[in-house]
Every structure is written in structure tokens, then in C-alpha cells.
């Protein structure tokens, strides 16, 4: 019998607000343990939550971009559980009236993945096992960071589809500006539900859940391995147990969590400390007006208005940060093609050298534009421009000062010096001259290089080109 995979995703996205969802503590990543904690997020008796407006706006923006219905009135509910990552012993989440329902996102293949809902909730703290004292240490800095949980219908038929969805969702969230989208810092985490059923069957099989997959590749691998495990069980005539499993990406296998961790009885009830929130038409139209340009609109504009190639546009559109740099440079008068070439060439190369993601890019756009203007004005050559751009990126150098200090400005070379250098190079490279005259244009570049070297790289390449062409005609 042949089986097919039925898989759904629950994607937890940390929203990039400045303060937590129910208190004013900072959401900054990486602070000393328990330094972004107050009576509200540490669950002190009597402390009351106050909802962060930006979290509601970002969740609504995401919902509108994904074609969801936004609830006219949204509410919070308590999800009770005992685990020291949440000191209140309950998580404020949404069950009965989540902010968004429906909507969806198309995959690369064109298949449409439906969303079940998007709800808001608070993140939990971080637990670290201390091997010396055999105890667990709790850091509540992350506790109360706003999360959106984006829940799909079980529409995926392979791990690759789930991975493609996550990649597309990540890009969209990046452009919406609602999350830092850094999977390695845990700002996007996915749980997957997997079951299998005989091909052609409509009924759903027993499903298992795997939690906290922290890379897109891990999701694809986990779904494939879990489906294989279930198919093997069924082929042996055994049953799949409904359970939560922990995926170990290094071992490439999942393990059932202990039954105690499987004991789930959240006893949800409406959160009495937070009033329902009205999302009226006035609010929604304000969210629509502040909606940034989305990847599909940008792609069309980059091709039509900027004249970029499909390939360049596709690479740029993987990162909102790169697009912002590109548009910033163009806004500062750098021609679009040139701006794209430097963004995709030198800037990406420098990031790669430092092992950074485009999202981590920090560069003074104005200084970068000034370096590129020196090149466009013919005051420096390309190799010099590359050095200047690197200096802007690495130390925020002033491009004019940098070029002066390093003697990178091209000099007006007198016609006499120019023709002398050209004549000398032609005399020394009779072979190349012969090849050029026999029709090989490739050696021309070589001769230009020799002339530039003879002039110690200070001449303007356009003049050298011209002088060389003329001399070769004779």
C-alpha cells in the first residue's frame, strides 16, 4: 500500500516590538539573565497585564497580508500549565476569539496552503540545566515577548512543501517588518503535525507533533523521517500513537517525550485581567494604509522601473534589508543597475566574509553612496571603489578622506605621459599587438592593464582606453 503525508505547521513568530506584550519591559535579545523582568512578567500576585498596541497592529498587518479575516472583537484566554518557563503557571493566549482566521499563502508550485488562524500570546522564559547542581536555572527575559502563532490547515503533502511555506512566510514577515525573522535566535520556531494515510483516502491518520524545530531544513528532514517511521509502523501492522515527540536534528530522528510531558489539560478560560479589543474598520484602514510594499509588488517595480534582471530581483527579494539598501542608494542618485551590482556584489561578499546575514547589515548608506559617486564621476577606478566601499563598511570611513589618504584618486595624466606609456607597452608586447590585429579582442583588456600599471594605476581608465584604441589603429 502506498501512503501519503498529511502535515500542518504551527509557526511561532516573535514580533519585533520594543516592549513586551503585557508589560513595558524591554524585548532586547541577549541581556543579562532576569534584567528585563518586572512584577507582571514574573507573575507577582496582583500585577496586572496591559496589552501592547504595536503587537495588535503587527498581528493585524500580518493577517491582512495573508488574506485573513480579522476578528471584529478579539479576546485573550488563559492556558494553564505547570512548568517553570512561565512563572504565572498559565500563558495568556487566544483560543475562542483569535485575531485572525482563514487566509493562506501560495507555494512555489502554486499550491495554496490554507491558514486556520493566527493568534497572539506571550513567549515563555528560557530554562538552562545546570549540571553541577543538578538544578534548572530560569531566565525570564524572554517571558512576555509577543508571539504570533500562525497555524496552517493540514495541507502539506511533503516536508519540502512545509519548508517552502516557511521560507515564503519568513520572507513575507521580513518585508512586513513584524519580526526580526532570525531563526538562529529563535525568533521563528515551528511545530509540525504529521500523519500518514493510504493514498486516495480522505480520513486522517493518527498524528504526532514535533516541537521547536529551529531551522527550515530541520523541518523538511523531521517531516520526512517522522512519515517514514509511521509508515513502517503501519506496514508492520502496528499503531501510531498520538504523542509529542522531540526532534533531534543531529541524530536525524525523533524521540517520544515522557508521558508526563504528554499530560495536557490546559483548562482554558477567558482571561479576566484583559478586556476584549475592538478591531473596527477605522483601525483596519489605518493598518492597510501603513502596509509596506510587499515582495510581489517590489518585484514588478524592480523589473519595470529599475530595469533589473529577474535573477538580481529574486536575490534582492530574499531580504528586506538588501531591498532597503538598494532603494536607499537609488534615492541618493546612484543608477539602479549600479546600485544592484554593488549591493549583490561587494556588500554580499563582505557580509559573507564576516559570516553575517543580510538582516545584520550595518552600513552608512550616505557614505556608501558618496564612494559610488566618486566612481561614477571618474575620480576613482573600480579597484579603488571596492577598497573605499570596504572601508565604509568596516570602519565607517569617509570615502573622500580614505581615497586621499591612500592615494586612490585618479590624476589627470598629461597627453604626453599617456602616449609615452601606451607606446612603451605596445613596444614591449609585440605578440599581443599582433593577436589584437589578427582579430582577438581579448588581449585588449590585457594591454589596458599593462598601461594602467605603467601609469601606476592613477590614470582614468576611459582615457587609457581611448589612447590605446587610437594607437592600435595606426
Amino acid at each position: 500500500m502506498n501512503y501519503e503525508i498529511v502535515c500542518g505547521l504551527e509557526v511561532h513568530v516573535e514580533m519585533n516590538t520594543k516592549s513586551k506584550i503585557f508589560c513595558a519591559c524591554s524585548t532586547a535579545f541577549g541581556g543579562e539573565p532576569n534584567t528585563h523582568v518586572c512584577p507582571v512578567c514574573s507573575g507577582q500576585p496582583g500585577a496586572l497585564p496591559t496589552l501592547n498596541r504595536a503587537a495588535v497592529e503587527k498581528a493585524a498587518r500580518t493577517g491582512l497580508a495573508l488574506g485573513c479575516d480579522i476578528a471584529p472583537v478579539t479576546r485573550f484566554d488563559r492556558k494553564n500549565y505547570f512548568y517553570p518557563d512561565l512563572p504565572k503557571a498559565y500563558q495568556i493566549s487566544q483560543l475562542y476569539a483569535p485575531i485572525c482566521r482563514g487566509g493562506g499563502l501560495a507555494l512555489e508550485s502554486g499550491r495554496f496552503i490554507r491558514l486556520h488562524e493566527i493568534h497572539m500570546e506571550e513567549d515563555a522564559g528560557k530554562l538552562v540545566h545546570d549540571p553541577f547542581t543538578e538544578t534548572t536555572l530560569c531566565d525570564y527575559n524572554r517571558c512576555g515577548v509577543p508571539l504570533m502563532e500562525i497555524v496552517t490547515e493540514p495541507d502539506f503533502r511533503s516536508g519540502e512543501e512545509a519548508a517552502d511555506f516557511l521560507e515564503r512566510l519568513r520572507t513575507l514577515l521580513d518585508f512586513l517588518g513584524v519580526s526580526d525573522c532570525k531563526m538562529q535566535e529563535g525568533s521563528i520556531r515551528a511545530d509540525v503535525n504529521v500523519s500518514v494515510r493510504p493514498v486516495g483516502s480522505e480520513a486522517l491518520g493518527v498524528r504526532t507533533e514535533m516541537k521547536n524545530l529551529n531551522s527550515i531544513k530541520a523541518v523538511a528532514r523531521a517531516v520526512r523521517a517522522e512519515a517514514e517511521r509511521q509508515i513502517e509502523l503501519l506496514r508492520e501492522g502496528r499503531a501510531v500513537r498520538q504523542e509529542t515527540r522531540r526532534w533531534d536534528d543531529n541524530k536525524g530522528a525523533s524521540f517520544a517525550m515522557r508521558s508526563k510531558e504528554n499530560a495536557q489539560d490546559y483548562r482554558y478560560f477567558p482571561e479576566p485581567d484583559l478586556p476584549p479589543v475592538v478591531l473596527d474598520e477605522a483601525f483596519l484602514s489605518q493598518v492597510r494604509r501603513s502596509m509596506p510594499e510587499l515582495p510581489e509588488q517590489k518585484r514588478a517595480r524592480y523589473l519595470a522601473e529599475y530595469g533589473l534582471t529577474e535573477r538580481d530581483a529574486a536575490i534582492l527579494l530574499r531580504s528586506a534589508r538588501l531591498c532597503r539598501l538598494l532603494e536607499g542608494l537609488i534615492g541618493r542618485g546612484i543608477p539602479a543597475r549600479e546600485a544592484a551590482n554593488w549591493t549583490l556584489g561587494e556588500v554580499l561578499r563582505l557580509l559573507g566574509e564576516d559570516g553575517l546575514e543580510p538582516a545584520d547589515l550595518e552600513i552608512d548608506e550616505e557614505k556608501l553612496a558618496r564612494a559610488l559617486r566618486l566612481l561614477a564621476a571618474g575620480r576613482i577606478g573600480r579597484p579603488a571603489a571596492r577598497r573605499a566601499v570596504e572601508a565604509v563598511y568596516r570602519e565607517g570611513a569617509d570615502p573622500e578622506l580614505f581615497c586621499r589618504e591612500h592615494g586612490l584618486f585618479l590624476e589627470k595624466v598629461g597627453e604626453g605621459d599617456l602616449s609615452a606609456a601606451v607606446a612603451k607597452v605596445l613596444a614591449e608586447n609585440a605578440d599581443a599587438v599582433e593577436k589584437y590585429r589578427a582579430g582577438s579582442d581579448k588581449v585588449f583588456g590585457f594591454l589596458v592593464g599593462r598601461c594602467m600599471a605603467a601609469l601606476r594605476g592613477k590614470a582614468d581608465p576611459a582615457s587609457v582606453n581611448r589612447a590605446l584604441r587610437e594607437a592600435l589603429k595606426r
Binding site: S19, T135, F283
Partner: protein
């Protein structure tokens, strides 16, 4: 709904309570009485009663996203039964 000893076992597990065997009978009886009382409430006809709800709030009325000061960590951890390296210390829960 009736509470039986299996349900009590489950509740104890959820609440992380280690209830001595000799107390179980008494607790079972008390919980049963509470549920019986709830049954009385359930008999009320609430068909035409509007559900009570907190007054809904408009988005503009919500807290602006401006970070404020957190609590002093030393003061925070004074209330912790045990602390280590600036963290709350609890019995081992992660592997």
C-alpha cells in the same frame, strides 16, 4: 460530572501534588461536593441572560510600545526561594 479516583490521580499529576493515600478519600468527597454545588448553578435557566463581559477597548486605548524600566534584579530574586547566577533556581526539569 463525577470525580473518581482516576480523575483525582490525573488532577494531582497536573497540579504536581503528591497526595497521601489516606487523604484521598476525604479530598474526593470534598471535590464531589464542590461539583454538586456547580450542578445547582447549572440548573439555572440562563437562556435569555446576556453573557457578562468586560467593556471592550479600542486599539487606540492600548498601551503604546515604549519600553520602561524593569525591576532591580537583586530585589526581584529576594523573593525567589533559591537563586544562582542571577537566575531563579528550581528542581531539575530539563534534560
Amino acid at each position: 460530572m463525577k470525580i473518581d479516583s482516576a480523575m483525582l490521580e490525573h488532577l494531582c499529576e497536573l497540579a504536581r501534588l503528591d497526595l497521601p493515600q489516606e487523604e484521598r478519600g476525604e479530598v474526593l468527597e470534598q471535590l464531589g461536593k464542590i461539583l454538586d454545588y456547580m450542578e445547582i448553578l447549572n440548573r439555572l435557566d440562563t437562556e435569555r441572560v446576556e453573557p457578562y463581559d468586560l467593556a471592550a477597548e479600542a486599539v487606540e486605548g492600548l498601551r503604546a510600545d515604549v519600553p520602561g524600566p524593569s525591576m532591580d534584579r537583586a530585589a526581584l530574586l529576594e523573593n525567589a526561594p533559591r537563586a544562582q547566577d542571577g537566575a531563579y533556581q528550581v528542581p531539575r526539569t530539563v534534560e
